[in-house]
Each structure stands twice: as structure tokens, then as C-alpha cells.
């Protein structure tokens, strides 16, 4: 077995453990490339049965429209039970990424996720997080315990030995499971290529309307984009390494139009991927850890 085979078998083992032991699991589906890989692994893990759990997308209402189209087509073609959750209170109050800053992420993502899990009573949620993404993730367990407030306590994680995952919880507690913990960005791309997994078109370079803001190229995906004085919309050939809310996701100038070209570009990459997610830079070192303690995925 090569190292991709080993990672694949590990992820499948983890998913089966959850399906067998957890009372009410759900797979979080964020539409990005990691979600595409996770979905593909879930299809393999239980074949010829369908994945024995629903999928959940927490929609901030600020996702790229190409993402939403991709999500809907994926769910329809594969016959998946795809749930969507939107924090309607946040929408009513007009919470947006331009004027609400960090509290936007909290209200539309962190709080919305908590509310969604509570609404359906999910006791276990798969996430596509990888340990190579960020330093505090590097220390998170594969089965990551959340207390009744869905908070993560990094100083008091359950020890995780061998492949013996502890799925036991009390009423109100839950577990987040990261089957891709040991994958790197490079592994993800190589696997997408090897397995021929569809991903959102935004990953491929194309002429797109963008503005330059704080050194990032932000795509003008719809007319809600608020331009700052002096900003002007230009057409540039860009692609995205990670996908999120369009006003918070920086694109990169690129000519990589095919999967091969993307993989090649990634292998030579000099910027690690979270650079293009603006929320991580808010308060320097430790900002992701803070959000995770509060329940961010």
C-alpha cells in the first residue's frame, strides 16, 4: 500500500467506527475540496450501502453561488440527504461580513453550527479538518470531544490510543470526528486526481471580477459586495485554494485551468493555504484556537 492507500483505509476505518458506535451522526459538508474527498470516502466506506447518515451544510448566505449550485447538483445526482441550516436571526438582523467583522463568523458560522446540531440532535459530526492546516489543529484528536456547550478544551483532551476511539458521551455532549486528520493539502489534491473526484469550478483558474483588498484578491460574486473608496473591480484570471464566504476568501492569480496544472502548482506552493482565509489573521497567533474553544469547527 502506498501512503494514499494507508490514509484512505484509515479514514474508512474511522467512518465505520462512527457509523457503528455513535447514536446520531452527521457529515458536515462545506462544499470545498476536503468535503468532496470526505464524501467520496464515505461512498466507498459503506458501498454497496449508501452512507448511513445525512449531510449538513451550514450556509452563511455569503457563499460563492457556484458553490451552492455544486452542492445542489451533488446532492441530487448522488441522492444524498443534504440538510441546510441558515441562521435566520442573523439574516434578519443583516449580519454581513463587511460591517460585523469577527462577530460575523461567530454568528453565521459558529453559532449557526451549534444551533443546527442542537436542532437535529446530532451527537457526532464529521468535519474535514486536517492537522496540517493550522497549529492548534495539529494537536486535536481525531475524535474530538465537545462539552454541553459544544466547547473544546485543548488542555483536557481525551487520550487517544492506537485505533481505539472512545465514542462514549453523556446527554448533551457530542463528538467531532476528523477522518482527514492525517492528510496534507498535497495528499488531498493527489487523491482528487487519482480518484477523479469532482470539485467546485472555483478551484480552476478563470477570468473573474475581483478587487484588491489588504493584499488579497476578493471576487465580486454578487451585488451585495461593498466596495471601499478607491477600490475598483478588475477582471483577473484567478483561482481559489480554499473556499468559504466570497468576501472573506482571497483568490490567487493563476493560469492553472486543469487538475494537473493545479496539482503541479500546489506542489510548488510557497504559501500555506489558510493565508487566503482572512478570518485567521484577526488576532495573530492563537486566533483559531480561541474560536475552536468557543465551538468553531
Amino acid at each position: 500500500m502506498n501512503h494514499l492507500d494507508e490514509l484512505e483505509a484509515e479514514a474508512i476505518y474511522i467512518m465505520r467506527e462512527v457509523a457503528a458506535e455513535c447514536e446520531k451522526p452527521v457529515m458536515l459538508y462545506s462544499i470545498g475540496k476536503d468535503s468532496s474527498v470526505m464524501l467520496h470516502l464515505a461512498l466507498k466506506a459503506f458501498w454497496p450501502e449508501k452512507p448511513p447518515f445525512p449531510f449538513l451544510h451550514v450556509n452563511t448566505t455569503w457563499k460563492f453561488h457556484e458553490m451552492i449550485e455544486f452542492r445542489d447538483r451533488t446532492a441530487k445526482e448522488l441522492g444524498l440527504n443534504m440538510l441546510e441550516y441558515i441562521n435566520e436571526d442573523g439574516v434578519r438582523e443583516g449580519v454581513n461580513p463587511f460591517t460585523y467583522g469577527a462577530s460575523y463568523t461567530d454568528i453565521m458560522k459558529t453559532q449557526a453550527l451549534k444551533a443546527a446540531l442542537n436542532k437535529y440532535g446530532f451527537t457526532a459530526a464529521f468535519g474535514g479538518g486536517r492537522r496540517d492546516e493550522e497549529k492548534s489543529r495539529a494537536k486535536e484528536r481525531v475524535f474530538s470531544f465537545r462539552d454541553v456547550n459544544q466547547a473544546w478544551d485543548p488542555k483536557n483532551q481525551r487520550p487517544e490510543m492506537w485505533k481505539l476511539y472512545n465514542t462514549r458521551i453523556n446527554q448533551g455532549e457530542s463528538i467531532r470526528i476528523f477522518p482527514l486528520s492525517n492528510w496534507t493539502e498535497k495528499d488531498i489534491w493527489q487523491y482528487i486526481k487519482r480518484e477523479n473526484i469532482p470539485i467546485v469550478s472555483l478551484y480552476f483558474a478563470k477570468e473573474r471580477p475581483v478587487v484588491e483588498r489588504d493584499g488579497q484578491l476578493i471576487m465580486v460574486d454578487d451585488d451585495r459586495m461593498q466596495l471601499l473608496p478607491g477600490e475598483k473591480v478588475e477582471m483577473k484570471k484567478v483561482r481559489f485554494r480554499t473556499l468559504g464566504c466570497y468576501p472573506l476568501t482571497g483568490g490567487m492569480e493563476s493560469d492553472a485551468e486543469t487538475l494537473d496544472e493545479i496539482v503541479d502548482e500546489t506542489l510548488q506552493a510557497v504559501e500555506s493555504e489558510r493565508t487566503s482565509r482572512i478570518i485567521d489573521k484577526d488576532s495573530g497567533a492563537g486566533s483559531m484556537e480561541k474560536r475552536k474553544r468557543e465551538g468553531y469547527f
Binding site: 500500500m1 502506498n2 501512503h3 492507500d5 494507508e6 484512505e8 483505509a9 474508512i12 465505520r16 467506527e17 457503528a20 461512498l43 466507498k44 466506506a45 459503506f46 458501498w47 454497496p48 450501502e49 449508501k50 455544486f70 447538483r73 451533488t74 445526482e77 448522488l78 496540517d132 497549529k135 492548534s136 494537536k139 485543548p154 488542555k155 483532551q157 481525551r158 487520550p159 487517544e160 490510543m161 492506537w162 481505539l164 472512545n166 462514549r168 455532549e173 486528520s181 496534507t184 498535497k186 487519482r194 477523479n196 469532482p198 470539485i199 467546485v200 469550478s201 478551484y203 485551468e257 486543469t258 487538475l259 494537473d260 510557497v270 504559501e271 493565508t275 497567533a285 492563537g286 484556537e289
Partner: protein, 640 residues
Amino acid sequence: MDNLLKFITCGSVDDGKSTLIGHMLYDAKLIFADQERALELESKVGSRGGEIDYSLLLDGLMAEREQGITIDVAYRYFTTEKRSFIVADAPGHEEYTRNMAVGASFASLAVILVDASQGVLVQTRRHARICSMMGIRHFVFAVNKMDLVHFERDVFNRIKKTIKVLMAEFNYESLMIIPVSATEGDNITKKSDRMPWYKDDTLLAYLERVDVSPKEETRGFTMPVERVCRPDRTFRGFEGQITSGTVHVGDLVTSLPSMEQAHVKEILDAEKPSDCEIPQQSIYTMDSNHAYAERIGAWDFHVPESSQGHAVTITLDREIDTSRGCVLEMDSSLEVGSLFVIHLLWMDDHSLVAGRNFWLKIGTQQVPATVMKIRCRIDVNSGAEVHTDELFKNEIAVCEISTGSRIVFDRFENNREMGSLILTDRVSNMTSACGTIIDTLERGNNLTWQNTDITRNLRESQKTQKAITVWMTGLSGSGKSTLSNALEKRLFALDRHTMLLDGDNVRMGLCRDLSFSEADRIENIRRIANVAKLMNDAGLIVMTAFISPFRQDRQRAKEIIGDESFFEVYVATPLEECEKRDVKGLYQKARDGKIRAFTGISSPYEAPLDPDVTIDTSKQTIEESVDLILKAIEKKFGEA
């Protein structure tokens, strides 16, 4: 060699472990440029003055950066042209032994740091011991800070000799010792020109070439069943990851513990989808999702054989008793048993005493288990065996455990997957301990339950009553004895056949050998529960009056006696009232410090969460209380 090497780095704070790995990533340009920038920025802001602090790459959690130590395991990923690596960077302090064990359980090789200026220390021994216990068989010792000893060959050779002596104690397959300087980069990725006397590989070069694949032993095929796949009535497949050996279509496999046999009909291996020859999608189009769904619809995972490491689904040619927790095997050394000697690492904040009950997970099996005995503690530094009754966090011991039902297992040295286990606390669900099976205690295997012709049902109907146990729990002086006595008199008057087990009376006979230590209190309750069960089996209604302060012990009693015959009465008379009564003068003695661990004063009482009935003898008379209990019994069991 395109396989993964998972390794752990061990060393204490001052040994420079994070620096070593950080330097390796930095030198080999294995870190992304923006991480590198952040690193330079943070180390300048940080306290250690100006120079790049490589350890900042790894010490991720805020608390760690504040304290300047590594608390939890951090995982790092890198790939060179020759191999992919995952590094578990583990804390070295004794108080974080459990975190190191987490890292070691994940790894197949250990890089242990030794400070050249100090030589082999107690912590070096500790690190080797933990790695060995968790199953690591490949060791690299990086003798660090060679710059501080002027790169002297003699110093290195002395340390090398000590390491070899040290390692003689452990079971290992490969051992490599390399002189390095982590801060200056000697022999990390580049050969040091300051140590020309060292001719062997640099650390990275060695890690790239070392072979850690398990030795080709004839271990046979084993696969714990994770889950049964049943998409429709025609298909019944057993999902699992093969832990050893190879299996072919047509092989005759055995399902443990039932010992039933069947032939393998199909093997589905997810690794090889039938569509891998289809041309790559090179761009996304509107049709991509549809094409994907069609390809998946046509998937065919059938393979003629599969082997260790593969995640498969197996179908058999006939229906046998197999489900999650069973193990499919062929020609393996697996056994079935319920009494074991294990190495145990205690990881919970509160201590362990013999008699405690847990959930035990081994392979995909989960069963109740009891730590019967702590044979001895093993000093994690010296390896010395120390007698003890109590085990604290981060301590290692040899223990005897028994499981509630027979489980499939192997000795850890034979099969890492089927010989390792975790214990989970039954109340908090914390992973309290991990262990490895050394041996089995076969004595339990010779006992089988004899069924007798006169059954409990017959005895009950002869006496026209339902045999139940009324378990009274409450503080000393709460009125348990008075109440159970009154209850028995009432039942006796109603022509019922009864027996009363009272705390002090039992202590004078059956449990005369037991003290009031925690372990003995647990044993006391176990014996009482078993006696109550025997009397229930004899058709008698049993009343027990014991403080039984711990929820877990009452839970255990309930399991022994049986859910369907257990009736819990919480005698909830308040502490002040009990202390005021102080019939036996015990509270006064406890307050004076003459009695240690007295429930309610110096030892906790865990009230029942969901008792069948609650009585407060400061508010109700004894007769009223008896009425209440009888009414509740009638409600739960019908007429008693």
C-alpha cells in the same frame, strides 16, 4: 519507498526536541513560506531574543507558548522525495506521560533525544519504557548538543555504550544512535564536517531509509468486524480493516467467539474501484456531478484477495452468528477469555483502586470490565516493581482484569491491534486507562454455569411472590436499618418470604476480612450483591441496608442482581438530622478525626440520580415510609 513513516520524538524541554524537528523542516525547506515568515516574526516578538526559535513551529497551543513547554502531542507532516512522514511531537515531562503514550501508540519508530552534555538521564529511560510499552520496536537516539561538548568522539562513544546497556532491557528490532546539534543543524539533514569521525547517515537520511514494516510472520488472517453492511435482504457483508495476514475468496474462516465457520464468498476492497481507468476530469463542467454519480453507480470493488491494512467488506457463503465485536480469523493465534494480566497506564485525574468497573474496548468489542487487582506499580523511570493499592495519573502498573463477557484477544507482543485496550470511566466517559495484554489467567475458563431443574421461577411461584432486592442507600444514621426492619416485619405479616442483609451484621461475618478502604468497600458491595442475587434465586425477597455511597458501585450491584429485580430506595434524611441522631456516636468520632473517610464528613456520598423511591425519615414516620415503599414496589413490579 512510497509508504508512510509515523514516528514520535521524545525528549525533555531542555533536550531541544521541538528545535530538532523544527530545524529539520526548516532546513529541508519543508515548511511553507508564510509559516516561515510567521515563525521569524513570532520568535522576534517572543522572549528568546532575536534568533529564529525553531520550536515555535511545533509548540502550537497558547498555554504551551506561555509556559515554554510542550503539553500535548502535535502532529507534523512532511514529504521528501523519498518518503512521507508524520511526526508526533510529544511532551517529555513525567506529568505528561499519558500524552507521550498517545504519540507512541500512533508511531512505529521513536526518536529519543539525549543531551550530550548530560548523558543518559532517568527521563531517557522513561521515554524508552513508554515507547516500548506502547509497542514501538524501532529506536533512534539523537545525541543532541554535540556543540556543547566540542563534538568530541569520546563523549559520544560513552553515551552510545550507556544507551546500548539501557536498551538491553527492552524488546526492539532496530537501534540507531546519531550525534547531532539541533540548534546548529549538524547531522540533521546535512553531514556535519565538525564530526568527521561519524560515518553513518544523518538523521533525515536514516529516517528515509529505515524499514519498519512488520516482520513477515505467519500470524494468520485476522479482521475485527466493525459493522454489518445490509443494504438489502440479499447482501450481508462484514466491514473491517484487516489487522494481519491475507484472505482469499473461498477461504474457510472462523468467527470468534462463536467458533462458527464459513467460506469467504466475496471480498470488496474500496482501494480498487473499477473506474480507475476512466480518463481524468481535467476541468469542472456542469456534467461532472452527473458523470460522477454514474461512475459510482457502476462501482465494483470485488477482488480475489486482500491483506493487512486494507479496509474491506467480506461476505460469507452461509449465515453465521457474526456482528460488530466478532473477529473473523484463519490460522491465527487469537484466543477467547475473560481474565487477563495487563500492563496498564492510568491516565485519569482521580486514582485507581482494585474493584473499579469500566467499559473496556479492544478491537471493536466493548464490554464491562473490572480491575481485580493491582499486582504492582512499575516505576516509570527505573523499572522497579513497587507494591501499591492505589494508582495515580501517569503511573504504570501490572494489573489483573476480568471482563463481563468472554472477549477475543491476543497477547500484545503477537498482535498489536488485538492485544491493546482502553478503559473508559462509566460515569464521566473519560478514557481513564490504556493497557496491553501480557497474558491470560485461564482459571475462569474451567468454570461453567450449571443449570438446575428447580428454577427461580418455580421457587417464586411456590412462594407466590416475586423475588426482588430492595436496596436501601443513604448516610449513616439516615434510618436504613430501622426502615428495612419495619418493611420486613410488614412483609412477613403478609406471608412473604424475606431476608434482611444489614451492613454491620454482614461486616461481622461474610465480610469480616474487609477494611473500610475504597477497594474493600467496593468488594464489600460486590459480595453483598452476589448474596442478594443468590437469595433472589432462592425465591426470597431481600432487603439490604448499606450506606453504599458510590453511584458506580450501586450500578454494579444492579448489574449483578439484574435490572428486573433491583429496587433502589434512597433514604434521603439530611446530614444535619443524621448527625443530630448519631445513634452510634460515629459522627462525633469522625468530626474528632478518629475515623478516616467517613461518608458525609470526610468521604463523599453520591446520591442516586433516579431512585425508585425517595424517603426522608425526618419528614415521614416509619410506617408512612413503609407504605410509600410498598406502593412504589407494587407500581414497578405489580403486586409483590
